[in-house]
């Protein structure tokens, strides 16, 4: 229960910081010369730290509720039995982190170029702060509904195995396994190729096309990679022939959490780099600084995605092929 209470506390903190960003004028604009600038960057950093630590505590809290949820065998069972808002909160963590990163990147871009905080930064931060506020509110509400279901609306009985064990019900991940494998390798090659081209730092009209390609291939990679890992690799990594549950994979395979973090950060770098490139193309005065920043983000994305793939491949190699 301690994890649950800590998770609720972090949601509360996130709500307070996000509300402060919206209300205290940081979003509406403040003269950087009067000290509002550093406060703004601190607010963005606080939101990012809260999203990461809050995400970890959220899953630890859900894991602590497994024993109290009828029929649940892992975090997935709790998510199935609890209110749908629990799933929205899950999706909210990466969204808040990407928006906070986009806000920070735009802020740094302008300040490195010697400009005061512009309307673009404030607009990005306004969206980010509002999303963070809504996310924190949803998190608090979801915990409340899970811990205290309204009278007459007890938790539904969960059953993990009927969803993830092929012998019982099959799964979309397995059904699409063969096609998804080709999709994964194609997307990975295209993403790495585009990022390698962008990481060389040369300017020109081709950069826009390369960023478009990187975003597209990274998007398809984000869809294909979980499908293939769950359909083909997870059962072998866990030693369970029919089990395709992502939460069990994260709990049982020590290589899975760092691989998810590395891949997630790598894909976020693609999103941030593309955003910076867009800002640079709209604001010619920032273009030189934008090229420098997006080159760094492309390199970071390239190495992070490569590290995630290398980590999983090395784990499979070390563990041996059969379960």
């Amino acid at each position: 229960m301690a994890f649950v209470q800590l998770s609720r506390f972090l949601f509360l903190l996130q709500a307070v910081v996000a509300a402060a960003l919206v209300a205290a004028g940081a979003v509406r604009g403040r003269d950087p010369a009067r000290g509002g600038s550093l406060l703004l960057l601190g607010g963005i950093g606080a939101i990012a730290v809260l999203a990461v630590s809050g995400g970890v505590l959220y899953y630890l809290g859900l894991a602590a509720r497994v024993g109290f949820t009828p029929g649940a065998m892992c975090v997935f069972g709790v998510l199935r039995a609890g209110p749908p808002a629990l799933r929205w909160v899950e999706a909210g963590f990466p969204a808040v982190l990407v928006l906070a990163g986009a806000g920070a990147a735009t802020y740094l871009l302008e300040h490195r170029a010697g400009d005061p905080t512009s309307r673009t930064v404030r607009a990005v931060l306004a969206v980010g702060a509002l999303v963070a506020l809504a996310h924190a509110g949803t998190g608090l509400w979801a915990w409340q509904r899970l811990l205290n279901p309204p009278p007459g609306q007890a938790l539904s009985v969960s059953c993990c195995t009927t969803v993830f064990d092929v012998a019982e019900a099959g799964s979309a991940a397995v059904a699409g396994g063969g096609f998804a494998a080709w999709w994964l390798w194609g997307s990975l090659a295209a993403t790495l190729g585009c990022l390698a081209g962008l990481g060389r730092g040369r300017g020109g009209a081709g950069r826009g096309l390369l960023w478009g390609g990187a975003v597209l291939s990274a998007g398809t990679l984000a869809v294909a990679a979980p499908a293939v890992v769950l359909a083909r690799w997870a059962p072998r990594m866990m030693g369970l022939i029919d089990h395709h549950c992502p939460y069990c994979l994260l709990q049982r395979v020590p290589a899975a959490p760092p691989a998810v973090v590395l891949a997630g950060l790598g894909l976020a770098c693609v999103a941030w780099g593309a955003w910076v490139a867009l800002v640079g193309s709209v604001r010619p005065d920032l273009r030189a600084e934008a090229v420098r920043m997006e080159t760094g983000l492309a390199r970071a994305g390239l190495w992070l995605v490569l590290s995630a793939a290398g980590l999983l491949a090395a784990y499979a190699l070390g563990r041996g092929s059969g379960p």
Partner: protein
């Protein structure tokens, strides 16, 4: 980050993956269904037409996995530890647990006298072949 830092991150990730993979390498045969050790007295083996086999820790795990088309099912005789065809075995359900981690109470025997003795001793009852198709 400096130029040499990213390759270091990559190498650290690969080293971590390989190290944890080596640590998780199964020491002995594992049940294909639940991942528990499959060198138990309740072991079940599916012999597939292509010459390969699938090993499970217990009768419930093997049943839940489903019998592949054309496979021969071999169960373990609890009296001797030898494998025997499921079609030729005798099955008893009793109060005794044969595989602890999933509390299996179905027992296979090659000889009817062993099965009858177990049934008598552990207040069991005869059950049909769980793998009958």
């Amino acid at each position: 980050m400096r130029g040499w830092a990213w390759p270091l991150v990559f190498l650290a990730a690969v080293a971590f993956g390989f190290g944890t993979g080596l640590r998780d390498r199964p020491a002995g045969p594992r049940c294909l269904r639940c991942g528990a050790p499959s060198d138990t007295i309740g072991r079940v083996r599916f012999l597939l037409p292509d010459g390969t086999d699938r090993v499970f820790c217990s009768i419930p795990c093997a049943r839940a996995a489903g019998i592949p088309e054309g496979a021969r099912v071999r169960v373990t005789d609890e009296a001797t530890g030898q494998e025997v065809d499921a079609d030729a075995a005798f099955f008893v359900e009793s109060e005794a647990v044969s595989v602890a981690h999933n509390r299996t109470r179905i027992h296979a025997f090659a000889r009817t006298t062993d099965a009858a003795a177990h049934l008598e001793e552990h207040r069991g009852r005869w059950v049909p072949n769980p793998f009958r198709r």
